[in-house]
Symmetry: D2
Subunit: 325 residues, 4 copies
């Protein structure tokens, strides 16, 4: 039944570096075509069985960390999205319950952005998919990941101390390449093709402590500020060259939010990561407990599984992510 294209064989050393990628009309560099002209899964193709197998050997204690927030942890939702309305159904009172949800926005809580979520340029989505193809459910939507599942190595990059020093996670504090690089070195790992980077800024921990009034103000489009990856060519190159298949964080939008300008080729990392690289962006993941355990264990590599919704035509999904130490 699963009709996803077969992943093409990937030979790690042969993946192009950022500088080897062609320049696209917007001025950044493009990874289109790497997996063939009709591919809808992007870099996730790098999670081959061998990558999964190798990652599974990282399990030491078997401790599990579920990385999805509880429903409505973030409320009100950012950017005018909504929180789900859950109705409990009693078919035969006293004998059992069913559920139904309305107003359920996958983009309002922990989430993966699929390659249909943000365009590379107006009307042009990852690998040349058009707006019409996406609306018709023909390209790039979340089932291209959901029908395969994800199981790979996760690298925990804890940059929260640096963020705290330079403005805090609730401000527009940029996470710099040097912050990521320091965290990686502390973790004592080298990146390998197929990794998922888990960037911990401390944002959700901070958010959880705010008053309802602050949360409401922060959620308004135009008011939102949050720490996140610096919008720069250096950052784009660093992420591409890591050959990670996804980057997830505990912030609103992965990239720094609330700075003045979205102009220039690197003004939107969403455009570059999703639209040009075919990279999965994870947002609002709960990393707090995991980071604490990593600190205790002195290990920052995990076996990371994620089962995005097998939801044809959808733009995104909760990650249903599990980190195993």
């Amino acid at each position: 039944m699963v009709t996803a294209d077969q992943p093409i064989p990937i030979n790690g050393p042969d993946l192009p570096t950022y500088d080897e990628l062609p320049v696209e009309p917007g001025g950044a560099r493009s990874g289109w075509g790497l997996f063939g002209p009709t591919d809808s899964a992007g870099l996730m193709n790098l999670v081959t069985p061998e990558v999964t197998r190798a990652a599974s050997t990282l399990v030491r204690t078997g401790e599990r960390f579920a990385l999805d927030l509880p429903t409505a942890f973030v409320s009100p939702a950012f950017f005018d999205r909504g929180v789900p309305r859950h109705t409990l159904i009693q078919r035969r009172p006293g004998l059992g319950f069913d559920d139904v949800y309305d107003n359920y926005f996958p983009q309002a809580a922990s989430q993966w952005d699929s390659l249909a979520h943000v365009a590379a340029r107006p009307g042009e989505f990852y690998n040349g998919a058009t707006r019409e193809q996406i609306a018709a459910g023909e390209r790039n939507t979340i089932e291209h990941w959901g029908s395969r599942g994800i199981a790979t190595r996760g690298i925990v990059l804890d940059v929260s101390a640096s963020v705290a020093e330079r403005g805090g996670p609730g401000a527009s504090t940029p996470v710099r390449v040097s912050d990521l690089e320091e965290a990686r070195e502390r973790a004592g790992v080298q990146y390998r093709p197929g990794d998922i980077l888990l960037v911990h800024t401390g944002f959700l921990t901070w958010y959880a402590e705010q008053s309802q009034e602050v949360k409401t103000r922060l959620a308004r489009r135009g008011n939102t500020t949050a720490a996140g990856l610096d919008r720069s060519e250096e950052m784009a190159a660093y992420i591409w060259n890591s050959h990670a298949v996804g980057v997830a964080s505990d912030t609103v939008g992965l990239e720094v939010w609330g700075t003045d300008s979205e102009d220039g080729p690197y003004g939107s990392l969403h455009r570059i990561f999703i639209g040009l690289f075919g990279l999965a962006i994870g947002e609002l993941w709960w990393l707090d407990d995991l980071v604490r355990a990593c600190n205790d264990a002195g290990r920052y590599e995990v076996f990371l599984t994620s089962s995005p919704g097998n939801h044809p035509g959808a733009t995104g999904s909760e990650p249903h992510a599990l980190a195993i130490l």
Copy 2:
């Protein structure tokens, strides 16, 4: 943040056998209290870190099989539930998409039933939870599994040949203890506490080939027939004694459906498995591709991960299950 009770230490050999369990008012036997008087997670407590660690060593090739059906694969939904309405939102036309779902019934597709789904007796749910406690989100609902995640050994039990011979998966064909036992022997495994049993009857494969008219008729409450576990004391005892934490199948309701009577202590396996044992029931899981791969590999043990929704107060969730060979 995760406030789930700590799992109690379980020493496999010390788990009671079915015959050692007390008889409950309905005439079957009850596993209440095994994990303390306020426990809401049931047998899933047996999935300790050590169980997860051991299961991770089963990975050989790293091949992944996502076991959740695509949305609306089953349509119309069984038992008057509905299929989701998905709306694609264009915030800034051409630049990207968001999603929103309405009419989303977790019980309409691949699913886990939580311990809030079916009662042991009217008004009494697993481990003494009341209807009011469940409605208030205080006991037994799906986040007790979703906030921990599941990663354990899956045992693939393929009973489809026997079902095909004795009426087929679309009829009320009982899967007998002897069928399960034969499948287990073919698989060459012994059950261990913490396993999840994956029972393949061929139902969904058969369903996929039916006309829309047949699907519609089959979905009507009262008309539904499907192969599934035999309603008997022998079956209840067999499942308990396996010390499995969950049993999932590719059928509508795991147990045989459409037979005349639901009377007697064993007239409803839902009542026994969910209400008395605290066992997770999985329904409408897509096992077809996995079974084929197991047959090819000659192996029926998998590393099974599942991330049910971290959805406080919900009765069930898609399993977001991944089998890794």
Copy 3:
């Protein structure tokens, strides 16, 4: 703001009779073009200010009868539609409430069918509107009535006694032209262009007394039986020649439901009334109290007001109808 086309002047005596209408490809006769080639309101154009004014003079006692059923009076909904989920919102607990509805099907309760609801022939809707035009909200939908409102004479035609004698309202009992004619004579009125006919069969009164089991069985597509207008050329001609702008009844589908065949030019009165005549069909209206009052008063003419939803692009709406005696 209201951009509805101006109604064309109608001179009652000049309206064509059914025999004067052209024969359409399906074999019945067509009223297309009567109000110009781009008209989307159909016969409702006949409700001119003068018609409204004249009808207002019918008020004698000022007694009001609201003709919309309470929400979920019909449950389960017929034909796999749903009943609304109503959520009461407490913004500031104790200070007030708001509402939100999900799963709200206007076709599940008292309703007007707009001229977008049923086609004359596949892909061809009233007055030549295409499926694409309707889906784009350009033609025939309910706001063409909702933005103008309806206020005209209602003629109460009580055929319940005849229906009761010949099978009852819950069976496929045809309401014949002779039944309508007798009711009209009893009412002592002549039809005038612009009238709305209110046909009382007793169906909803009967329905209200049925068990939940019967209601559930009756609601299933394929099982539904109900009294209603006979599917015949004679009936089509009678209704057209009355120059009524709408016909509403207390039955499921106005026309008789559950008979064997929908073949032939007159096999579907929906096709003829909506698709060819541009006539408003009203279904599941509560006429019981009104009929009783008419019987008491010995008058069967009412001032009838109706404010369909001003809902651009919608196929139908609750009638929000009021009969004033």
Copy 4:
């Protein structure tokens, strides 16, 4: 079927004046008990058949004005409510359409506020109804009006010129008693028990001309400003003494919005009108076309019909209002 309490006989001259009402704990005056201790319909009881009959004689030309805005005319909705999601359903492609709505907030567009919408004091609603009674659908909700319908005299009070001179309808411009009184005198009418006052400030006409950016800013809770009735004892007394059953306007909240304080007995006219008087408040009604026609005709009395939803347990409803000249 309609089980609403019978209206009590009202003898206009005997209605108490504002000064004759008892002072309530909040410091204003209360109309509780006027129609008995269990009444849920409030002043709407004054719309007796005789009031309806008399109002029907006001029809001169029969011109109709539908006063409900089109769906989503106001977008984004004020105060974090939402606009409906409308899905067109094609059962048999090309042959017809059905509708379903989700996220439908009756309080987001033209509306009546029922007597369940705002409390007199925390936990105490009109006529002593409790929060629990309202949540249980036992008191004060919209079906108490919807099951009877409304047909009475409407008085058009055009205060837009005065509002325009003193800040405009988009600012917190108070409509004073003197403005209403001047408009009434221009209209040449005396108030009678049972009237509905239609107060035209020009707000929606102004709103329609604003940019999407202004509309978005204005809709935010905390940002909203709009002309409306002055919050004062004089205003409360004036409205009570008019013995109107409802006051509707083309503004967001009938009363002036965006002024500093909601303190004091008269800091919220919602509290007084709904919670203490049992008066219907109408908001976001489209009066523009009607006012123009009234100006042309030199008449400001109309026959006003309204059919609120017969929606048990709901807080409000679109008015489905029709003014007939």
